[in-house]
């Protein structure tokens, strides 16, 4: 049985629909700007959804809802998909997040900081009839949530799923990455020689997946998750977990390296992550496949990133368009990889999405077109 992605939606600083987001990328816009956070953190480069613009957008969906900001982001991401596809008795809501409504902790509202509280509010808001599922697996959560949706549909547990992924830009997360000295003091430069760390961002992204074939839908042809079993916060030096997950995803998709037309990679712009990816792609003989990272457009949106970037990659697949890897000028990894530097039309049939994160986690997924 195959599982298909039918529609998507993105709420980000670059737009409130998938179409607007993709258009923004094609025009080279980046969400990253200088933002003052507070006296202790100071000013950082990050991507933040403009509250005024978002509130105006949310008013067009619901004028009465008064829940937490992240709940509004989730509702805005899901709303058009649920209108289009309708909730059935065996529809399930799957939520990918690293921190959920973590801002509630700063307000001393411990109960609101529990992720089940947030997702039950959303489940009830839309009237889902099944228990929601939450995946919290660091930076691979978004891709992993999609892979778990596929598997649960294959197993017959559900016939369709609404997968939503979101994380907010909060002092909680910023202060932590600052303490790691992992933040860039400019717009980040994935894979570049002068890269010096990440930008953080925020987004909510959603897709509708089901077991029903449609010529316009995208097939999840293969996927896998593998742990490095090496270090809780540092990437593996050999790229072991990423290699294993790509191998398994390709095998399930019945594809070889030469079938892959484009890679939407993780590319956080830290020294070690990007180096690890270059090693893994070379080990897999994928070094000549056009590849990009979207982190200089959005920043790292953590639990949202895997799904947001999958949605963008699927737009590339549908429109046969390669999006440049913003921020890249000069090869900065010990082994070379084929970074996309200019927008290009190219026939795309099968593409690969990868993600890696804290806890040694790695995920890979192959998407194919049906026409």
């Amino acid at each position: 049985m195959a599982v298909y992605i039918h529609s998507s939606n993105c709420i980000s600083p670059l737009g409130f629909t998938t179409k607007d987001n993709f258009q923004a990328l094609l025009s080279g816009r980046s969400a990253i700007e200088k933002i003052f956070i507070n006296d202790a953190i100071g000013t950082i480069y990050a991507g933040k959804i403009n509250n005024q613009l978002f509130d105006a957008h949310f008013q067009s969906i619901d004028t009465l809802f008064s829940g937490a900001r992240i709940e509004k982001l989730l509702i805005a991401a899901l709303h058009p998909l649920i209108n289009k596809h309708c909730i059935k008795n065996d529809s399930v809501l799957i939520f990918s997040t690293t921190k959920g409504n973590i801002s509630a902790l700063a307000e001393n509202q411990l109960n609101d900081a529990f992720i089940p509280t947030t997702i039950h509010n959303i489940n009830t808001y839309f009237g889902f009839k099944t228990e929601p599922i939450v995946i919290s697996n660091a930076c691979v959560s978004g891709v992993m949530a999609l892979s778990i949706a596929k598997r649960l549909i294959e197993s017959g547990a559900f016939s369709n799923a609404f997968v939503v992924a979101a994380d907010e830009l909060t002092p909680f997360v910023i202060s932590g990455f600052q303490s790691f000295q992992a933040m860039s003091n400019e717009v980040c430069k994935p894979y570049d020689k002068n890269r010096n760390g990440i930008n953080l961002g925020e987004a909510a992204a959603a897709v509708y997946v089901s077991d029903t074939f449609s010529a316009n839908a995208i097939t999840i042809a293969g996927e896998a998750n593998s742990n490095d079993a090496n270090h809780i916060s540092g990437p593996s030096r050999t790229g072991e977990g990423l290699v294993l997950s790509i191998e398994k995803a390709l095998k399930e998709a019945q594809k070889t390296t030469t079938d892959i037309d484009y890679i939407s990679a993780h590319g956080t712009a830290t020294l070690y992550n990007d180096e690890m990816e270059a090693i893994a792609f070379n080990r897999m003989q994928l070094q000549n496949v056009p590849l990009n990272s979207l982190k200089a457009y959005y920043g790292h949106t953590l639990g949202a990133s895997g799904l947001l970037e999958s949605i963008v990659a699927i737009e590339s697949l549908k429109t046969n368009t390669l999006v440049p890897s913003l921020g890249f000028k000069e090869q900065g990894t010990s082994q070379s990889i084929n970074i996309i530097t200019k927008q290009e039309q190219k026939p795309l049939k099968a593409i690969l999405k990868t993600a890696s994160g804290f806890g040694g986690s790695n995920s890979a997924m192959v998407f194919t077109k049906n026409k």
């Binding site: 507070n38 959920g100 039950h120 778990i148 598997r151 649960l152 294959e154 600052q178 742990n227």
Partner: protein, 196 residues
């Protein structure tokens, strides 16, 4: 048809293995209790002392299940209702006031629940499938179906499932290993009993 080959329950200073009590401590304090249990293991693992409480609990529960295990293709599916809130709270305390601002990377790294999966993967060298699920209570239905799907589709040879909860000094871990042969049928009723 799959089976549960071993199951562990840790709560209130007691540890049960396959339903039989193997540890009965009168220590009420979690950190004292978990250190006592660790010291009784033959395996020396200094990293244990660096872990936060959630990881320590997951480490001990996994150790009890996997100590004589040779299979490496074991998927890890952990779950709880609080994610990493126990450590999130500590990190929040360190940034709450601008004049007493001291975030620490050693704390922040544990503000992700799947770090517990990472710690167990490193200890047992499992380069396998894994996922951390958050739910208000253990979701027997979908955990059962997801586990069997991983086994049926050869994405794992065995699956270690577990509820691992640690918040404000309260703790509970219920871990069970699912494979082809075992001592209990892998069905919803037995899973409910094990994770009660």
């Amino acid at each position: 048809m799959y089976s549960v080959s071993k199951y562990i329950h840790i709560e209130n200073g007691s540890i049960f293995e396959n339903g039989k009590q193997i540890v009965d401590s009168n220590t009420t304090d979690f950190s004292e209790f978990i250190k006592q249990v660790y010291r009784n293991f033959e395996h020396i693992y200094p990293k244990f002392y660096k872990m936060d409480d959630l990881c320590k609990l997951a480490y001990i529960a996994s150790e009890l299940v996997l100590k004589d295990e040779t299979e490496k293709d074991i998927a890890l599916l952990f779950s709880n209702n609080e994610g990493s809130l126990d450590t999130d709270y500590k990190h929040q305390q360190s940034i709450q006031n601008n004049d007493a601002y001291f975030p620490s990377p050693a704390v922040f790294v544990y503000t992700l629940p799947n770090i517990a999966i990472g710690e167990v993967s490193i200890r047992h060298q499992l380069k396998s499938e894994s996922a951390f699920f958050i739910a208000s209570e253990y979701q027997t239905d979908y955990m059962h179906q997801y586990t069997e799907h991983l086994l049926r589709t050869n994405k794992a040879k065995k699956v270690l499932c577990g509820w691992v909860h640690c918040l404000n000094g309260a703790y509970k871990a219920c871990f069970y290993l699912v494979e082809t042969n075992g001592i209990l049928e892998h069905n919803n009723q037995n899973i409910k009993q094990i994770t009660k």
